[in-house]
């Protein structure tokens, strides 16, 4: 036990001390918002700096009038299409829109001519405008004043409430649940991949540099493998913790800086749900706040930590086994498939099935089978999962990682001392069956 602890310490310290760890940990939470910020900024700049694009409209019906926007101006000069084409070719116009004579019930043949390919947004802008005009025209022709239509337009929002056996009512909102499941699932997926790879690299390093021979003369291979897996898990948890703290402080600083008092207000309302209800009854914002307040955070946080670690341990052992079987990272490819496929299935399943319908049969199985449950179950937890299903899934995950660790230990023990031979699946199977 002491020796495992020594290995854990070494693995942890060696990684956390690295400059790259510090850089990645500190920069990642900054990079994503920064990239998004830069994009938004560029887009805004572009919009500002763009010269107004003038589009010539040739309307043979003499019916349509399009309002100019910030980006596009429409000119109705009463010229024919040949002249308009010439204007485009000479560069005097960005493009020209030709609306041929058509029956208003069947508007076809509208075309846009331009020197360059028009953007999607321009085309849909034109389409929307024309559609609206045509609809108005048709309403008008059938004797209905478009104003009446505007008056009768109503907005309907359904407030969904979950009722449990004791009769407690909780306001729920699929969007919030979706977001939580989405983020948690992706985090676990990424964590397994990134840190699983680190385990594999670490094992290959020890094997190829022959340190392992000295190490296993001092402790059991299984202790070495477990120490490495746990040590690296510690690195991952440290990173996650720093990210949470960092993102938390950053959000507070940024929102504070922007003069938005949202966090404080939210906190106040969360602390005082009645006040929040009174304040925000029937408004959409208020409902989302109620949902946020109604979510069982403790359960989500605990399941997140459980599936985070459980999934990592399950796959980590497999990554260690692969690392032990090969001499170089490039040889590892052939064994990666059985590990990557269930992970990708879980990831795809999260989006295709679990988040859309958390209670379907497929979602159930995805969230119970140990290879996919760490990712899939996180998509369900925020919606609320019956206790027995959660217990089954967690129990199976524990059995699952005990099993993979046992199998991996058998491969690892023999693999780390084998050099120069490229093992096949058949040899791995033989190693698993060998008793000493």
């Amino acid at each position: 036990m002491d020796k495992i602890w020594l290995v854990i310490q070494r693995e942890y310290v060696a990684r956390v001390k690295k400059k790259s760890f510090l850089l990645v940990t500190l920069l990642t939470p900054l990079i994503f918002p920064a990239i998004m910020g830069i994009f938004v900024w560029i887009a805004l700049e572009e919009e500002d700096n763009q010269a107004l694009r003038i589009i010539e409209v040739v309307d043979d019906n003499k019916l349509f009038f399009l309002e100019s926007s910030e980006q596009y101006a429409f000119s109705f000069s009463d010229i024919n299409s040949e002249e308009a084409k010439k204007l485009v070719q000479d560069g005097d116009r960005y493009g020209f829109l030709h609306i041929p004579k058509f029956d208003i019930k069947d508007p076809t043949g509208i075309s846009f001519y331009g020197e360059e390919n028009p953007s999607m947004s321009l085309i849909s802008y034109l389409e929307n405008n024309l559609r609206k005009k045509i609809e108005e025209q048709r309403l008008f022709e059938s004797g209905i004043d478009p104003k009446i239509i505007n008056d009768v337009r109503t907005k309907v929002a359904i407030k969904s409430i979950t009722l449990d056996e004791e009769g407690t009512e909780t306001v729920s909102d699929a969007t919030v649940n979706y977001a939580i499941g989405f983020v948690a699932g992706i985090l676990i997926y990424m964590f397994i991949f990134i840190y699983g790879n680190q385990i594999m690299q670490g094992v290959i390093e020890e094997k190829s540099s022959r340190i392992v021979e000295i190490l296993v003369s001092s402790l059991k291979p299984f202790q070495l493998m477990l120490g490495k897996i746990i040590g690296i898990a510690g690195v991952g948890l440290t990173q996650l913790l720093i990210w949470i703290v960092l993102v938390g402080t950053l959000t507070t600083i940024v929102t504070g800086f922007l003069g938005m008092q949202m966090p404080q207000q939210q906190a106040m309302e969360l602390a005082n749900p009645e006040l929040a209800q009174g304040l925000a009854q029937n408004t959409e914002m208020g409902e989302i706040l109620q949902v946020i307040a109604g979510i069982n955070y403790m359960q989500i946080a605990l399941s997140f930590v459980f599936y985070f670690l459980g999934g990592y341990l399950l796959y980590g052992a497999l990554f260690a086994a692969i690392g032990s079987a090969v001499d170089a990272p490039s040889d590892a490819q052939q064994f990666m498939l059985p590990v990557t496929i269930p992970l990708i299935v879980a990831y795809m399943g999260l989006f295709v099935f679990v988040l859309n319908d958390p209670t379907s049969t497929t979602s159930f199985w995805l969230s119970v089978v140990p290879l996919t449950s760490p990712i899939a179950m996180m998509g369900r937890v925020s919606y609320g999962v019956p206790f027995w299903e959660l217990a089954l899934s967690m129990g199976l995950l524990i059995v699952g990682f005990l099993f993979t660790t046992w199998v991996a230990g058998k491969i690892y023990r023999i693999g780390i001392l084998m050099h120069g031979t490229k093992p096949s699946y058949k040899t791995l199977w033989k190693w698993i069956k060998t008793n000493n």
């Binding site: 020796k3 020594l6 070494r10 060696a14 690295k18 390093e205 020890e206 540099s209 022959r210 340190i211 392992v212 021979e213 000295i214 190490l215 296993v216 003369s217 001092s218 402790l219 059991k220 001392l417 000493n436």
Partner: protein, 297 residues
């Protein structure tokens, strides 16, 4: 110190060890000899409890080998390895702690050895910044840091320049003086005669010879003498093929059933005998002879 009885190990169809018995007395340097692939590494790995034997027993200090004996052994594998990114000090501390030393003890020992081998200035250097010879020294210290009563060195001199090899050789002899038992595994027989008290030879998974250097050498005596004659008084028989150098004639002769004195008497009739010495075979020759005789018989 170490007793091995009827040890067997095979990898699938290949026999690595067949009924190997060994007895290593306390405080000796024991040479484990044999060509590459003979089974030496397998034997060493079993003693280090890295792998298990198929059958047979290993006793250390009279007790059946068990995990608690790990701290009694210091092992320097043939293929050396250190963490490239770790500092010398941290690396040694890690290995010492894995062998069961307390942090305090470990630090004292590391200090002692760094001073002894004049390496204090490197202690904060990463292994990747050291030369190969320096890294080898770090490895050697890591092996003996916990004062093991049994030291197993697999090809300890490979990778050392002559100066450092000499330093390591002297350290090994000094450790022996202090009572450490050393098992030296090598396929280079010439280094054995200088260092070892006892040897065992392994070939194709079997032990083919063991004993003290003297015993082993007495097993195979080709009974050939090297002779030098000066001032010839008569011509040598033509079958004595000799090398002439400024009036001296050198050649080798087998006893061919005679006693050494009889041969000497005979030689005296030809001239002045300035050299008459039995040709002692090298370990290499003994080994080759032994391999041949076991394979033929």
């Amino acid at each position: 110190m170490l007793k091995i009885e009827k040890l067997n190990k095979s990898y699938e169809a290949n026999k690595a060890l067949t009924d190997v018995d060994l007895n290593v007395s306390e405080g000796v340097v024991f040479g484990l000899l044999g060509p590459n692939g003979a089974g030496k590494t397998t034997l060493i790995r079993i003693i280090n409890q890295i792998i298990d034997s198929d059958s047979g027993e290993v006793y250390i200090g009279g007790e059946l080998l068990a995990p608690k004996h790990i701290g009694l052994i210091g092992y320097l594998p043939e293929e050396r390895g250190l963490y490239k990114k770790m500092k010398v000090w941290d690396q040694m501390l890690y290995f010492a702690r894995l062998k069961g030393l307390s942090p305090h003890e470990a630090k004292l020992k590391i200090k002692y050895w760094l001073e002894k081998l004049e390496m204090e200035t490197w202690k904060d250097k990463k292994i990747e910044d050291l030369s190969k010879g320096m890294a080898q020294k770090v490895q050697f210290i890591s092996t003996i840091i916990h004062n093991p009563p049994l030291l197993i060195l697999d090809e300890p001199f490979s990778g050392f320049d002559p100066v450092n090899a000499e330093i390591i050789k002297n350290e090994i002899l000094e450790l022996k003086e202090k009572g450490t038992t050393v098992i030296l595994s090598t396929h280079r027989m010439e280094s054995v005669e200088l260092l070892c008290d006892q040897v065992a030879m392994i070939n194709r998974s079997k032990k083919i010879l063991d004993g003290t250097i003297k015993q082993v050498k007495s097993i195979y005596r080709p009974e050939v003498y090297t002779i030098t004659l000066d001032h010839l008084t008569r011509d040598l028989p033509t079958e004595w093929i000799s090398k002439q150098d400024e009036g001296s004639y050198s050649f080798t002769l087998p006893l061919s059933g005679k006693l050494p004195n009889e041969l000497l008497n005979e030689l005296m009739q030809y001239g002045q005998v300035s050299q008459f010495q039995e040709l002692i075979p090298s370990m290499e020759e003994i080994f080759i002879h032994q391999v041949k005789s076991t394979e033929n018989g």
